[in-house]
């Protein structure tokens, strides 16, 4: 028992090593939060362009660009995308957090857009027709009728995507960014003790994901009762 208390002290208290985890957690949350935001905004735009093409034949050119974007992003590992962005595209900037936000945001947007598109396409075409027959414009029908229903239908899939995104940020250490995973790794490499730092890192991820899942569950329930 005493041995573990000593190890705990050595790994987290001594030299304020817990700060590595805290700082890393901060960075992880910042990256994840802004990447989710970027993913939602860009993903929605791409989804609307793609669905409008599927349904009405609009935006032919933009749709082609979106398709290439989705194919490339989904066809290559996020780590490779991160490295390309850091070492090639944004090599002159040397802003690691911004690079990570962009990399994970652009990556997530591709997945969000396909989730959202399936949500839009799942809405009965009669809803479009009813809206249009009342004299509402295409965008008004989207805004007031289709998107609210589509988002509700895909909320579980979206939540899942954001959980994946949060965990994927753990590769940020590859560009020398100190995220939560890298923070734990720094402790391990100084104390030569693997168990406690890595379990601590895992536990923190787990708690965040559980909180997220709970919040989504509440939101889902509330949205469901709002149609009864």
């Amino acid at each position: 028992m005493n041995e573990w208390i000593q190890k705990f002290h050595q790994n987290f208290i001594e030299g304020d090593r817990f700060l590595f985890l805290l700082k890393g957690l901060g960075n992880t949350l910042i990256i994840a939060a802004f990447a989710v935001l970027l993913g939602i905004v860009l993903g929605f735009l791409v989804a609307i362009i793609r669905a409008s093409y599927d349904r009405e034949g609009k935006f032919k050119f933009l749709n082609a660009i979106c398709k290439i974007y989705i194919t490339v992003i989904r066809g290559t590992p996020v780590l490779v995308q991160l490295l390309i962005l850091y070492y090639i595209i944004m090599s002159s900037m040397n802003n690691k957090i911004l690079t990570a936000v962009l990399a994970f945001g652009l990556n997530s947007a591709a997945y969000v857009s396909e989730i959202m598109r399936s949500g839009i396409m799942s809405i009965d075409v009669g809803q479009f027709e009813a809206g249009r027959s009342l004299g509402l414009s295409y965008s008004a029908v989207m805004r007031h009728i289709i998107l609210p229903q589509a988002v509700k239908n895909v909320l579980p899939a979206l939540a899942n995507e954001f959980i994946v995104l949060l965990k994927e940020t753990s590769v940020s250490g590859y560009i020398g960014l100190m995220d939560l995973t890298r923070g734990g790794d720094i402790i391990r490499s100084t104390t030569y003790e693997a168990i406690l730092p890595l379990l601590a890192v895992a536990a923190i991820y787990l708690v965040i994901v559980m909180c997220l899942s709970y919040a989504v569950g509440v939101l889902e329930r509330r949205l469901r009762t709002s149609e009864r």
């Binding site: 027709e129 249009r132 509402l136 008004a140 007031h144 009728i145 009864r228």
Partner: protein, 247 residues
């Protein structure tokens, strides 16, 4: 045709094809103010497609549709403005499940800025009272029976103060005991002079309420006359055949 009647909708050589299949074949018809048209015919005859071209939910492959003097097939015409004057009711109601009944009715007039929120609410409440569903104002469509949903769908279209109402098999998805309440509402509208075009299988409605009955078969309108002659003295052999099956 009565010369005093004002022409509301005119189709000129309307054709529509889905791929190789020609659904509408050169339809030229006139609908006048206050007329109640019943459009009947076997399934697949193109009657729903014909109705749906009238507000351009289906764009015709060729031909023109003139509504209140405007050629709505012209691409430069703001079709949304035109559709505000053409109400439509669907077989499957298509109420918006994410809005309450009141919001279903208020949404289009408010969003298209035809009315203020207060005006739209007043209008919606009056319409709800008319169909006896005032107590449902704040519930969601999932709580309504089929007949109630369809009556709401009808008044939702009426909230835009349309000049003509199109009905696409409005009672076909209803349980038999709910057909009456919907037909009754439609009959009331007809009595008030609303111009209506109704694709229907309800021969009773065609007989009692309509003042013109159209028989469609294989993309063409084969018969177009007042109900007495239509049902009492059908001339077209396929219409005779059709009537013998449905009556």
């Amino acid at each position: 045709m009565n010369a005093k009647k004002e022409v509301l909708i005119q189709t000129h050589g309307l054709c529509k094809s889905f791929g190789d299949h020609q659904v509408l074949k050169d339809i030229s018809k006139t609908i006048c103010q206050g007329e109640v048209l019943a459009i009947v015919g076997p399934s697949g005859s193109g009657k729903s497609t014909f109705l749906r071209t009238l507000n351009l939910l289906e764009r015709p492959s060729s031909g023109r549709i003139v509504f209140e003097g405007t050629d709505i097939t012209d691409k430069s015409v703001d079709i949304d403005k035109m559709r505000q004057k053409i109400g439509m009711v669907f077989q499957h109601f298509n109420l918006f499940p994410n809005h309450t009944i009141l919001d279903n009715i208020m949404l289009a007039p408010v969003v298209s800025k035809l009315m203020t929120k207060e005006q739209a609410r007043e209008k919606a409440e009056a319409l709800l009272e008319r169909v006896g569903l005032t107590d449902k104002a704040n519930v969601y469509p999932s709580r309504l029976s089929g007949g109630q949903k369809q009556r709401i769908a009808i008044v939702r279209a009426l909230a835009m103060n349309p000049d003509v109402m199109l009905f696409d098999e409005p009672t076909s998805a209803l349980d038999p005991e709910m057909v009456g309440e919907v037909l009754e509402l439609m009959q009331g509208l007809a009595k008030e002079g609303m111009t209506m075009a109704v694709v229907t299988h309800e021969m009773g409605f065609a007989k009692e309420v309509a003042n013109r009955v159209l028989f469609m078969d294989e993309g063409q309108i084969e018969e177009d006359r007042e109900p007495e002659g239509f049902f009492g003295n059908p001339s077209h052999p396929r219409l005779k055949d059709f009537l013998s099956k449905v009556l």
